[in-house]
């Protein structure tokens, strides 16, 4: 009967492993985990400036930086309680919120900044009918924008998901007819002569929300002081870039270094994104995008019954407004 006990022990340890859940958050938080996306510095230059200028340290915060390949990964880590603050797209944030995870947007990061690049033979939007367009994946705003274009012009566009840096290669090899990507990859492809910009995200969704600053709801309730400090560092970084031409040029150099893109490409790419970015969340745009997610089944139907309530839970501008008020 030993065997049975062995089996029992094995099963029990299995249960233990499966049931293991991370315990999160200590009472005294001095150290924060901040996540950002690889090569996404044009959209989220603030995190890069904070890093380079050690702005968190100035606020008395110790920081551990985390680098991620996509917003979805950032969200998984946020949900697991490992990342405390992050800059990434609003779409993955809303998808995660739609799964019932308490993630909260505390400030906007940038608007617009993506564009559709197509091969030379495509001249007008109508030509996109039946075209294969590369998108960064199902959970991205760019994917949603392709749908919006298709709906608006009543055409059919075939989506092809792929990693953004690969898109120019696919376009060059003729495997796709075009792609939609964020800066500077789109500008880079255009500079290499692989295609031309057909539509910018400004043409598709004027002033649409792209990236945001996110945190866990729990931190807002338990660690308001920390959130305040993070907000201060974040906004200071924002303002640093805008303060002078010199600062702007310095930031430009940083972007060149982090994204490994040629300088003229970065300059062009930056010109395509409206500037300065408003630090607020564009609520109308967020609502519109959430509707799209519901329609596409990316947020399960029935999860959002009241859109205003959903957005109100998602967006928590208190700390941002608090900072802006004190600044004046």
């Amino acid at each position: 009967m030993k065997k049975r006990w062995l089996l029992f022990t094995v099963v029990l340890s299995f249960v233990f492993v499966m049931g293991f859940q991370p315990t999160v958050g200590s009472a005294e938080m001095k150290k924060i985990h901040f996540g950002y996306l690889v090569a996404d510095q044009i959209h989220n230059f603030a995190s890069m400036i904070i890093k380079e200028k050690k702005l968190f340290k100035a606020e008395g915060l110790e920081v551990e930086w985390g680098e991620y390949l996509a917003g979805a990964y950032v969200m998984q880590h946020l949900a697991a309680g490992e990342v405390d603050f992050a800059t990434c797209g609003v779409i993955p944030t809303m998808i995660t919120r739609g799964r019932g995870v308490d993630v909260v947007v505390i400030a906007g990061s940038n608007t617009e900044g993506s564009s559709i690049i197509v091969k030379e033979s495509i001249k007008t939007v109508k030509d996109l009918d039946g075209a294969k367009i590369g998108t960064p994946g199902i959970g991205s705003i760019q994917d949603a924008m392709v749908d919006i274009v298709a709906r608006k012009h009543n055409i059919k566009i075939i989506h092809k998901h792929m990693s953004v840096p690969d898109m120019p290669i696919y376009l060059k090899k003729g495997e796709i007819d075009g792609f939609i990507a964020w800066s500077p990859h789109n500008t880079k492809a255009a500079a290499l002569g692989y295609g031309h910009i057909l539509l910018t995200s400004h043409d598709i969704l004027p002033g649409h929300q792209c990236c945001v600053l996110v945190t866990r709801g729990e931190l807002i309730r338990k660690e308001p002081e920390t959130v305040k400090k993070v907000m201060r560092a974040y906004m200071k970084a924002f303002q640093y870039e805008m303060a002078s031409k010199k600062n702007h040029d310095e930031t430009l150099e940083m972007v060149v270094k982090y994204t490994n893109a040629p300088k003229e490409v970065v300059v062009k790419a930056w010109a395509l994104t409206p500037h300065p970015y408003p630090p607020y969340l564009n609520i109308e745009s967020a609502k519109f995008q959430a509707e799209g997610l519901l329609k596409g089944g990316k947020i399960k139907r029935g999860v959002i019954t009241n859109m205003d309530k959903f957005i109100a839970q998602l967006y928590h501008p208190y700390f941002l407004l608090d900072y802006l008020r004190n600044m004046k």
Partner: protein
């Protein structure tokens, strides 16, 4: 002896020749591609020098990437050994347990480590994720080779001990364990190879800046193909070196065995 030495030198020379051929071919392809997405051997050498002297964008050098990856791989591999060897021994001694739960255990073998990543991210935390992903990949070779070698221990040896009135524990310690050791170590070698191969998969779990897999993924994101290749070559080289090392040790320890496979 002199003959042997000449033979060795010749083999080495031919190896260098092959390597040179590959480099030439590579240069030609790079030349023909003329693409910023394909690095020439020269770029790679420069990239290597950069990684050794300056480091990547964040200033992490090659050795620190390697060190971090090695720590993760060793931890995952150690976990695989800790679970795999006793587990294999146990289920080998009680084959019925394995036969009756096979349907649970076996399919897990075929789920690729990358597929576990989303689950690992949400269910585990920090370092344990790396351990888990590498464990999933490297557990099975070691577990299965232990299990099967226990099942195939020569019954004569066991009977010799049993006739002498040995206790069960004695038989396990003195007969079964020594006779399965070679195949356990063989399994460990395969496991180590696989766990090292999973480092890129494991380091797709984000949040860490260092690690050889991270270097590859990150460099691919910013189209630094030279650094991607530097990372690939580093992984290939370290994997090859550890494998050769274990084969060397194996040959030393198990001289009594007729042949050691190099799979």
């Amino acid at each position: 002896m002199t003959n042997n030495y000449a033979e060795k030198m010749k083999t080495m020379g031919l190896n260098f020749f092959t390597l040179a051929m590959v480099l030439v071919l590579w240069t030609l392809i790079a030349y023909w591609q003329k693409s910023p997405f394909f690095a020439t051997p020269y770029d790679i050498v420069l990239g290597f020098v950069q990684m050794v002297t300056v480091g990547d964008v964040e200033g992490y050098r090659l050795w620190s990437h390697m060190l971090h990856s090695l720590v993760r791989v060793s931890a995952g591999f150690a976990a695989a050994c800790l679970v795999g060897i006793p587990g294999g021994l146990l289920l080998g001694l009680y084959p019925k347990i394995y036969d009756r739960t096979r349907i649970l255990v076996e399919p897990i073998r075929f789920i690729s480590p990358i597929a576990w990543i989303p689950m690992a991210i949400v269910l585990l935390v920090g370092f344990s994720r790396y351990i888990f992903v590498i464990w999933v990949a490297s557990f099975f070779p070691i577990f299965v080779s232990t299990l099967w070698s226990v099942r195939q221990v020569n019954a004569v040896y066991v009977n010799v001990a049993r006739v002498a009135g040995a206790s069960r524990l004695f038989i396990i310690r003195k007969i079964i364990f020594p006779s399965i050791l070679p195949s356990v170590i063989g399994g460990m070698r395969i496991s180590l190879g696989i766990s090292w191969m999973c480092i890129v998969a494991a380091e797709m779990i984000g949040g860490q800046m260092v690690g050889i897999g991270r270097l590859i993924l990150k460099s691919a994101m910013v189209t630094r193909m030279d650094l991607v290749v530097v990372g690939m070559i580093s992984i290939g080289f370290v994997g090859y070196a550890t494998n050769e090392l274990i084969i060397f040790i194996e040959k030393r320890i198990f001289r009594w065995r007729a042949a050691v496979s190099i799979e």
